[in-house]
Structure formats: structure tokens, C-alpha cells
């Protein structure tokens, strides 16, 4: 290893704000999106979906559909039988978890509106769609259970045969675990001589809303059945296809070509993929299915959807003494691939950067007759960060001190790292003091506080509020042993290969399958520096199980910190393997040859040979040392020993128009510590996008069901996604405390903005109107909710279960609903 000891010092590419290699083809769309693929003789699928949230299927008459033009087949669950496999839950969070079986096509009963009841196969997509409307399905409606609080009553059951809606209760207790003291003692003590803050927060249901709809093409005509899918997880999908259909894994090739975003929403083994696989095998022909946006919104998995009951105890001086977290989380109709595990990922993060001596976490997951839920950008950690950062602001308000002061009193000081938390994690590094100081300065915190004071004193109709979020997160999923201890069905390692081509070019293979993150650029930069090969000579390959045979894909901000480390190790092995060959060619002893900036150099002489030349000589293999194999290619598989802990201080200023409840973002500053940065431009993109997604949860997005279980925010008319017109210019900066758990010193950044921003925004809104008696506004903080909160109606109330029609000439306008109608999960 002496040959590579100085590799990081020659950094030329790392740190450069390279424009992304992949962007020209991605932005123009002249690329390999799944739906762009056209195989000769392809048949097209259309799904017949249930309009009812809960119903018995009494009959399916396919006669008319079968008779329609160019229809090849109309298939039901009975027709496909075991060939359709099942949709798996890879993370049963407790041994007793109640998990309803999930067939890709419902058999006899549907459990949510949008569930597939039949598939139509035709020669064109239009003919398939037309015929799908001719499939005559008779339903007998069953009572539907919508929302967590209804589900908890166990009166109406999402799956009557299970006898309960309660799926699993997962508990962590610091006293039992030996990581801290008893939280009930702490709360009891605080009730006598301290401060106890109790709040209930709603994490509304969200929809990932990736830009490229899901699409799948299956070609069964080769020796391996080839599946192209717009998925984040080609490797996991291959495993699930094999494990549930009986087709040997070696007979399946999965390709995730260019994938247009996922945000966790494509971290799934979907019914549509399973159906396409089964139909292609049955008919012996290639098939294609591409969802419409309307289908995507009702059937691709949703995210978040929790009620959070939080109890925080503190001493009168603001020192926190205990935190009790009681969650209820909506799984939807089925337990998705990691559905139950998402809230559990939050279990380790509610204590955040603070030194709580006592901590208790419980999460009850419930089944309802709604779309299934699973990972969405941040997955568990945004929920936790929201909960704790809202509570720290509430504590500050109760004590009458600045929210930054109460945080600083309780956070881990930089000299205290490594620090083992009350949740049992060891944070390797961080410096909350300097990130906060820098953010305060850039933001102009003191000036804005002064303006806030002036506006309050003058009773300005537009009030100003400042919101704080000093977040951390655990990312870089994940140490396999930890996943094993949590009963997760797989490991968390990542694999990489470096192939040295005869012409001196390099192919880099990663098991972290990108879907828009910029791996091709960032990984090229890393390898360029490591091997001293020009950036443009490096090709990054991924997303095809024939090329990248091993991998665990992209989610949980893992690609760089786990996949990147695997890549570094593979590259170092290349140098190690090349060294004896280089020495042989230079007629020098190995000890006298040093690798530096892409060249093997005989120390103290001009004699040297480039790595590219060694690659060519190895290809020819005419003159290798005895016993050395003619290859300098190398693989590495890296299993992290710890998570990775980015942190940062986010400050948000919101203006609230007290006459209308309208909220307007005035300023947003974030100083994130994500360790060493490979490509600042990619980081900016991740931070900007992440912030907007988190701000959108605070202000705009919500999946709303009516009491019949119909998704009323079922189009982008009513599911409000922001555009650039709705956001301001963010002030993004960084501090750098390198991570100690990977050799590049990097930390994940893919989810940081989303995790941090939501509570900063809501804290700012509450801060703006707290003097008017407001201590919470339910998300999304619609103008109506803010207005109602100001006018003494609690946190603003639930969202109406109705949507205004804008296109349908026959529709009635949203009618006034009764006060007890609730948003999803309410």
C-alpha cells in the first residue's frame, strides 16, 4: 500500500465543479429511458384498476375486451396464478408483524383504490387502454378504513381476515438498551421541578412524484429474461423476481437504463413489474407497460404519513433530560418492501444532535385502505428531524430564550466526538458550533430578529418569523450487521470494479445504480485522481445486472460514502496489481517504484511508465513477471462499519400576512457539513433540490383521501408541486469536518436538504405568529390553516376531502364538507 499512500494529495478532479457528463442526454431526452425502448413485436399492457378502496370482486367479464381490436390477452390474478410471484416485504420490523399477502393482481378482494384487478395485452398501447375500459368488473363494496386514527380503533378493518389493522409495534428504550436512563423518571421529575413540553404533530402523506413515470419492458426471448425498468433497485428487483416466481436468478437480467428520478419512489418491487414479467413469460413475447401520471399518483407508493406524539422533559435552565416519542404510521393497504422500516429509521434520529440522557421510542404501524407507503427522500429521518426541531423551538419558547441558545446548551460539543448517543449510534465527527456561527452570520440573524421586533411592535399586518433547524442524519445505508440486527432482509455493502482497457481507457463499474444523481461525473472524478487517468477517459457503468453483477443500488445517501469507498478500494487494488508489472517492465525492484499522478516512477531516476502503458502491456501479456496473471482489473466490496453523519444549520425567515394567512419565504440560509466535497456543482444541485422538496412538505404537498378512500389530490391540479416560480434564491454554504469512516472523508448529501428544511420553515411560520397565541400549524401550512391558527382555531385543522374540478364538464364543484372530514391519516 505504500505505492498509494500519497494518492489523495494529488487531487485535481476532486473539488472541481464539473458540469455533469450525463446531462446532455438526460435533459434532451435523447437517451435510454425505458419507455424509449422499442423491441420488435412488443405487446403493450394496460392495467384495469379498482375505483373502490375496499371491495369484493364478484365477477370479471373479459369477453368484450377480448373481442376488441388487436387484443391478445386479458388476464386476471387467477389466470396468472403463481407465475405472478408476490410483492415482498423485506423488512418485517418485529417477529410478530402482521403482513397481508400482496399479490400483484388482486385476487377476490381489493384493498385500495388503484389496485390492479386485470391486465389487458394488445398490439398497441392505445388499443390496450381502450380494451381495458371494456373489462367488466363487478364489485361489492366493503367498508374502508382511512386514516391512522380510524385504523387504530380496529372497528373497520383494512383486511378483515387479519382481525386487526395493527401491523407491528416497534420499541426502543434507552434504559432497557443500556444506552441511557429511564424516560418516565425524567418526565416525572420534570413535572415537579422542570419543564415538560407535549405536542402532537402530523406528518402528512406525500407522493414522491418523480419526473419519469414508471415503465417496464420485459423480453423473454433470450436465454436470460431481460427486464428493463425505471427502478432505483435493479439488483434487489432481480432477487425479488427470482425469489418469488421460481425463475432462477441466473436466468434473469435486470437493467435500469437511464432513470428519471426516484426520491425513494422507485425503491420498490412493483406489481406492474411482476405482471409484465409474468405476461411476457406466458406469451413468449416482449411486453411494455408505462404508467400514466394519474396511475402513478394512485399506485406508486406514497411517503411519510405519521402522527407523532412527543414528550420532552427539561430542567428549568433548558437542559434536556428526556424524550419520549410515540409514533403511529400508516402503511397503506400492504407492507411495502421496506414500508414498516421507514419510521424505524427515524428511531435513531429523534435525539438528533442533543445529549438526551433518557429516550424512549415506539412506533405502531397500521394498515388502511389506501395506497401503500414506503421510502420517500429522507425516509424516517425527516419525520424525526421535524419532530425534534419543532420541539426544541417549543422548549425555547416555553423558556423565553432564543432557539439557538437552547440548542447550543444541549448539543454535542465538537471536542466530544466520537460521541455515543442515547439511541446507541456513534457519531464520528461534527462541529455544530462553527456551522451555526457561519449560518447566523450569512443569514443576518440578529438584524432579522431586530426587524421581527419592530414588526411586532408596530403591529404590522405582515409579521416576520425565524425558524431554526440544526439537523443531523444517519445516512450511507448501511452496516450490514446493523441491518441484520434490525431484521432487514439484506446487507448494506456496495461493490465496484475497475477495468483497465488495452488502450489505457478505464471502465468503472458500480453497483450503486444512479437515477439522476450524477454518479457518472463524480465517480469519474474520484477515479481520475486515484489512478491519474484523464477524466474523459473514464466511463462509469451501472444499472445492468450483466455488467454490474453485484450491487445494492441507490438510496439512503449511500452511493458516495459506501459505493465511492468501494470504488476507491478497487482503484487502489489496480495500482497494487500494476506495481509488480511496472517494476518488471522498468527493470527495477518493487521497493524502488513509486506511483504518483498516474505514473510508476523509479525513485531518484527519470525512468517511469504510465498506468495506461502498464494496462497495454498487461493486455499484450508478452512480458510479465513470472506467476503474475495478465490482468490489473480489480474488484472491491465495501461494507461500512458505521453510518455517516452529515449535519448542518438551516435558518429560514418567513413572512406571514396575518390578514390572509399567506406565507412568503423571505430568506433561507443553510450551512451543511457534508465532509469533503467531490463536485460542488452536484452538491449545490442536491442541496437546492432537497431544500425545495422539504419546503414543499412544509407548505404545499399533501395526498388527501376522502372518507370513501378516493385520492382527491389525484392530479397535479390538486397535488401542489412547486416550480422555480415558487422558490427564492437560497444561500448555500458549507463547513468541512471530514467523515472518519471512509477514506475520502465524504458524507452523504442526497437527503440532507429535505431532512433539514421542513422544520425550519414551520418553525419560522410559528415564530412569526406565536405572539398571537399560535404554537403549531399543521402541514402543509396552507394560508387557510395559518389564518385559522391565528384566529384561535388550533393548528389550522384538517384538509378538506374534496377537490375543485377544472376540466370535467360533468363534475360538481367541491362541496362543503363536514368538520370531521380529515386529510389522509387524520
Amino acid at each position: 500500500m505504500t505505492a498509494v499512500a500519497d494518492a489523495p494529495d494529488m487531487a485535481k478532479e476532486i473539488g472541481r465543479d464539473r458540469r455533469r457528463k450525463e446531462d446532455q442526454r438526460l435533459i434532451t431526452g435523447r437517451t435510454r429511458w425505458t419507455d424509449n425502448l422499442s423491441l420488435p413485436g412488443t405487446l403493450h399492457l394496460a392495467m384495469v384498476r379498482s375505483p373502490f378502496a375496499h371491495a369484493t370482486i364478484t365477477s370479471i367479464d373479459t369477453t368484450e375486451a377480448m373481442a376488441a381490436t388487436n387484443v391478445v390477452a386479458v388476464l386476471t390474478s387467477e389466470d396468472l396464478g403463481e407465475s405472478q410471484g408476490v410483492c415482498i416485504n423485506a423488512w418485517p420490523i418485529t417477529p410478530e408483524q402482521v403482513t397481508p399477502p400482496h399479490l400483484p393482481i388482486a385476487n377476490g378482494r381489493v384493498a385500495f383504490a388503484g389496485e390492479i384487478v386485470a391486465v389487458v395485452v394488445a398490439r398497441t398501447a392505445a388499443e390496450a387502454r381502450d380494451a381495458a375500459e371494456l373489462v367488466d368488473v363487478e364489485y361489492e363494496q366493503l367498508p374502508a378504513v382511512i386514516g391512522i386514527k380510524e385504523a387504530m380503533k380496529d372497528e373497520v378493518l383494512a383486511h378483515p381476515d387479519l382481525g386487526t389493522n395493527k401491523s407491528a409495534l416497534w420499541v426502543f428504550d434507552s434504559a432497557a438498551a443500556g444506552t441511557g436512563t429511564d424516560v418516565e423518571d425524567a418526565i416525572a421529575k420534570a413535572r415537579t421541578d422542570g419543564v415538560v413540553i407535549e405536542r402532537e404533530f402530523r406528518q402528512q402523506r406525500l407522493i414522491p412524484a418523480f419526473m419519469e413515470p414508471r415503465s417496464v419492458v420485459v423480453d423473454p426471448t433470450g436465454e436470460q429474461i431481460t427486464v428493463w425498468s425505471a427502478t432505483q433497485i435493479p439488483h434487489i428487483l432481480r432477487f425479488a423476481l427470482a425469489a418469488t416466481t421460481g425463475v432462477p436468478e441466473s436466468k434473469i437480467r435486470v437493467i435500469a437504463p437511464d432513470v428519471g428520478g426516484g426520491f425513494g419512489g422507485k425503491l420498490q418491487q412493483t406489481p406492474e413489474e411482476m405482471i409484465a414479467f409474468a405476461v411476457a413469460r406466458r406469451l413468449g413475447k416482449p411486453v411494455k407497460y408505462t404508467e400514466t401520471r394519474s396511475e402513478s399518483l394512485v399506485s406508486a407508493h406514497h411517503g411519510r404519513d405519521q402522527w407523532q406524539k412527543l414528550t420532552l422533559s427539561a430542567e428549568k435552565d433548558g437542559t434536556v433530560t428526556g424524550l419520549k416519542v410515540e409514533l403511529q404510521a400508516d402503511l397503506g393497504a400492504y407492507v411495502a418492501i421496506v414500508g414498516g422500516g421507514v419510521p424505524v429509521l427515524g428511531a435513531f434520529m429523534f435525539n438528533a444532535i442533543y445529549k438526551f440522557p433518557a429516550y424512549h421510542f415506539s412506533c405502531q404501524t397500521v394498515l388502511t385502505n389506501t395506497t401503500w407507503t414506503d421510502a420517500y427522500r429522507g425516509a424516517g429521518r425527516p419525520e424525526a428531524t421535524f419532530g425534534i426541531e419543532r420541539m426544541m423551538d417549543e422548549l425555547a419558547a416555553e423558556l423565553g430564550v432564543d432557539p439557538l441558545v437552547v440548542r447550543e446548551k444541549n448539543w454535542i460539543k465538537h471536542e466530544e466526538f466520537p460521541f455515543t448517543t442515547v439511541a446507541g449510534l456513534e457519531y464520528d465527527s461534527g462541529n455544530y458550533e462553527i456551522a451555526t456561527a457561519k449560518a447566523k452570520e450569512i443569514f443576518g440573524y440578529d438584524e432579522l430578529r431586530a426587524e421581527q421586533k419592530r414588526r411586532r411592535e408596530s403591529n404590522d399586518p405582515v409579521q416576520l418569523g425565524l425558524g431554526v433547524s440544526t439537523f443531523t442524519e444517519m445516512c450511507g445505508l448501511a452496516p450490514s450487521r446493523v441491518l441484520g440486527s434490525l431484521d432487514y432482509g439484506a446487507g448494506g455493502w456496495e461493490h465496484a470494479s475497475v477495468r483497465m482497457l488495452a488502450t489505457g481507457k478505464v471502465e468503472v463499474v458500480t453497483g450503486a445504480s444512479a437515477h439522476g444523481q450524477g454518479h457518472e461525473t463524480a465517480f469519474s472524478q474520484i477515479v481520475a485522481d486515484r489512478l491519474g487517468i484523464p477524466y474523459d477517459d473514464i466511463e462509469v457503468l451501472h444499472g445492468d445486472t450483466q455488467i454490474a453483477s453485484k450491487g445494492l443500488d441507490t438510496y439512503g445517501s449511500r452511493s458516495l460514502v459506501v459505493g465511492g469507498e468501494a470504488l476507491v478500494r478497487a482503484a487502489d487494488k489496480v495500482i497494487d496489481k500494476a506495481l509488480p508489472i511496472a517494476a518488471h517492465l522498468l527493470e527495477a525492484s518493487v521497493e524502488d517504484v513509486k506511483f504518483h499522478e498516474g505514473r510508476f516512477q523509479v525513485v531518484g531516476t527519470d525512468a517511469g511508465i504510465s498506468l495506461a502503458e502498464v494496462a497495454t502491456a498487461t493486455f499484450a501479456a508478452h512480458n510479465l513477471p513470472d506467476g503474475v496473471e495478465p490482468s490489473i482489473d480489480a474488484d472491491a466490496t465495501f461494507d461500512p462499519v458505521n453510518f455517516n453523519y452529515p449535519h448542518g444549520t438551516h435558518l429560514c425567515a418567513m413572512e406571514v400576512d396575518t390578514e390572509t394567512g399567506q406565507v412568503t419565504m423571505r430568506k433561507y440560509t443553510c450551512v451543511d457539513d457534508i465532509g469533503n466535497i467531490i463536485n460542488p456543482l452536484i452538491v449545490s444541485g442536491q442541496v437546492h433540490g432537497g431544500l425545495v422538496q422539504g419546503i414543499a412538505q412544509a407548505l404545499w404537498e399533501e395526498a388527501v383521501y376522502d372518507d370513501q378512500g378516493t385520492l382527491v389530490s389525484g392530479s397535479f391540479v390538486d397535488y401542489l408541486l412547486p416550480t422555480a416560480a415558487d422558490t427564492i434564491s437560497f444561500e448555500v454554504d458549507h463547513t468541512t469536518t471530514p467523515a472518519l469512516t471512509n477514506s475520502l472523508g465524504t458524507k452523504g448529501v442526497g437527503e440532507a436538504g429535505t431532512i433539514a428544511s421542513t422544520p425550519a420553515v414551520v418553525n419560522a411560520i410559528v415564530d412569526a405568529v406565536r405572539h398571537l397565541g399560535v404554537n403549531d400549524v399543521q402541514m402543509p401550512c396552507t394560508p387557510e390553516r395559518v389564518f385559522n391558527a391565528i384566529h384561535s382555531q388550533g393548528s389550522g385543522g384538517a384538509t378538506e376531502g374534496a377537490a375543485m374540478p377544472h376540466f370535467d364538464p360533468d363534475a360538481e364543484p367541491g362541496t362543503s364538507s363536514t368538520a370531521d372530514q380529515q386529510g389522509a391519516g387524520a
Binding site: 400514466t292 390578514e659 399533501e702 390538486d718 416560480a725 394560508p783 378538506e800 375543485m804 362541496t815 364538507s817
Partner: protein, 280 residues
């Protein structure tokens, strides 16, 4: 999604279009800019057998000066209306409303007449047209008739245009020198307004000579805030007059707000719109 199959005609004259309408009756749908019709077709909320595209009828495009009115061809895109100097000079309220109508792409494809004929009460053009006392020129088998704005909007998505008729142009009486403001209340920029108020004012703050106020999304059609207008014409102060803005309205309740909240918004936004229109 993919629409159901339909036939397509692209006539080049109004007469041809009318004759096609006469032939196909209620099996036909008129395609103007397509910003509402195409989503309807793609979501399969409607399945016409014939789509009659007005896009090739040149006579339906353009804006002209016609003495005491300006005339806007039904097929004139919003982007053209928004940039037109005649509109800005004589119907400033329309100019202001178009500035914030949907987004840039939709303003390029969507048409002035198409949006008004669609008659979505949350559409941005109904309230300004009503406030400016526009009249609608409708061609039919028996010739042309002109309908005042007050009679044009009948109900949700329903206008005075008959099944065998076409909206050809909109006549807007000149309001030269009137101040104007369109106060639109949304959560995100591309959204239909939760409530919007279109106000145009003759004279300036303190010496109002006349005022006209239209309300968007406060009922099943665009509405006038008559009580507020009357109070202001009678010399009432704005803050008090604006409190009457929700009289005779019937706003919807939906995801974005209860009817009672919309009533409150109408009052606040009316005050703000009139203030801004009168240079306040």
C-alpha cells in the same frame, strides 16, 4: 393517458367550422388552444367522436381597434393579448390578468376565447371580462349575435354559446386611462386562483369617478362585487365597502379553503385590488 379515438377536422373558415358543428352536433368538441380540452380527453373525462380544430381559421386571430371598443379574436393566444398595446391602453385589467395566467407555456398555447368559452369560474379571464362589460360575438347557423358578459356566463363550465355556435370575438369597451389591478391569491404560481379580484378604477385614490370589480372563483360563474361597487360609487370608504365584496356570492369549499375562508379573502383582496388599481 391516451384519449379514445376521435376524428379530426381543421376548417379554415368560420362557415366551414359551423357546418361541421351542424353535422356532428354534440358528438363534436371544439379545439381552441387545447389547454383544457386535451387534459379532458387524455383523462378520458370526455370522448367526442369529432374534434374540430379552429387553429387554422386566421380570421379568429388578432386584436383590432373598433371605435369605442377593442375587439379580441377568440383564437388569439394569451401571450399575444398580454403584449398587445391596444389591450394595455384600453383594457389594462385584461393585460394585468393575463400577466399571471397559468404559466408561460400555457400562455403561448391557450387562447383568449377558448378560456372564456370553457367558463371555469376559477379561470383568470372571466372576472376581468365581466368587470369591463365585455360582449361576446357568437356565430351560428342563423348569423351572428352579441351577448353581454352578464348573460354569457350561465353556470359552471356553461355559457350562452349554443351547441351549433362558435365564439368568434370578444368586444371590450374602451376603458382608456382607467387604473387596473388583478389580485390573485394562490399557493403556487401555476395554480388556479383560490380567489382573485379584478378591479378597474376611473380616477385616483380619494377621487374615484367609477369602479368595476369582478370576482374569480367565488361562485359557479365569474361575479361582480356589485355591493362594493355601489358603496364606492356612493362615496363610501374602501375599507367598509370591501366588507361587502362577498355579498351574493356562493364560493366553493375544496382542498385550498372553505367557503367561509374564501368569503374573507374576497373582502381583503377587493380592498387590495381597488387600492392598487387606484394607484394606492
Amino acid at each position: 393517458m391516451i384519449p379514445t379515438q376521435f376524428d379530426y377536422l381543421a376548417p379554415t373558415t368560420v362557415e366551414e367550422a359551423l357546418s361541421a358543428l351542424a353535422t356532428h352536433g354534440d358528438d363534436a368538441k371544439i379545439l381552441a388552444g387545447g389547454q383544457s380540452l386535451l387534459p379532458v380527453l387524455r383523462m378520458r373525462l370526455n370522448a367526442p367522436e369529432m374534434v374540430i380544430d379552429l387553429g387554422r381559421i386566421e380570421s379568429l386571430r388578432g386584436i383590432r381597434d373598433d371605435g369605442d371598443a377593442i375587439v379580441i379574436g377568440a383564437m388569439t393566444p394569451h401571450s399575444v393579448v398580454g403584449k398587445d398595446p391596444l389591450v394595455k391602453e384600453h383594457a389594462l385589467l385584461i393585460h394585468k390578468a393575463v400577466e399571471h395566467l397559468a404559466d408561460e407555456q400555457i400562455r403561448h398555447r391557450g387562447t383568449f376565447g377558448g378560456a372564456l368559452a370553457h367558463a371555469d369560474p376559477a379561470g383568470d379571464l372571466g372576472a376581468p371580462a365581466l368587470a369591463l362589460d365585455a360582449s361576446f360575438v357568437i356565430a351560428g347557423p342563423g348569423g351572428t349575435r352579441t351577448v353581454p358578459a352578464a348573460e354569457f356566463f350561465v353556470d359552471l363550465f356553461e355559457t350562452a354559446i349554443g351547441e351549433d355556435e362558435l365564439l368568434t370575438e370578444v368586444r371590450v369597451p374602451k376603458h382608456t386611462g382607467w387604473g387596473a389591478h388583478y389580485e390573485k391569491f394562490v399557493r403556487v404560481a401555476h395554480q388556479w386562483p383560490i380567489v382573485a379580484v379584478a378591479a378597474t378604477v376611473k380616477g385616483s385614490a380619494g377621487s374615484l369617478e367609477d369602479v368595476k370589480i369582478g370576482l374569480t372563483n367565488m361562485g359557479s360563474t365569474p361575479l361582480r362585487a356589485k355591493a362594493t361597487e355601489d358603496a364606492l360609487r356612493g362615496g363610501g370608504d374602501l375599507a367598509t365597502a370591501a366588507q361587502l365584496a362577498d355579498q351574493d356570492t356562493n364560493p366553493p369549499s375544496d382542498l385550498n379553503g372553505e367557503a367561509s375562508y374564501r368569503r374573507h379573502l374576497a373582502k381583503v383582496l377587493t380592498r387590495r385590488a381597488v387600492t392598487a388599481a387606484s394607484g394606492g
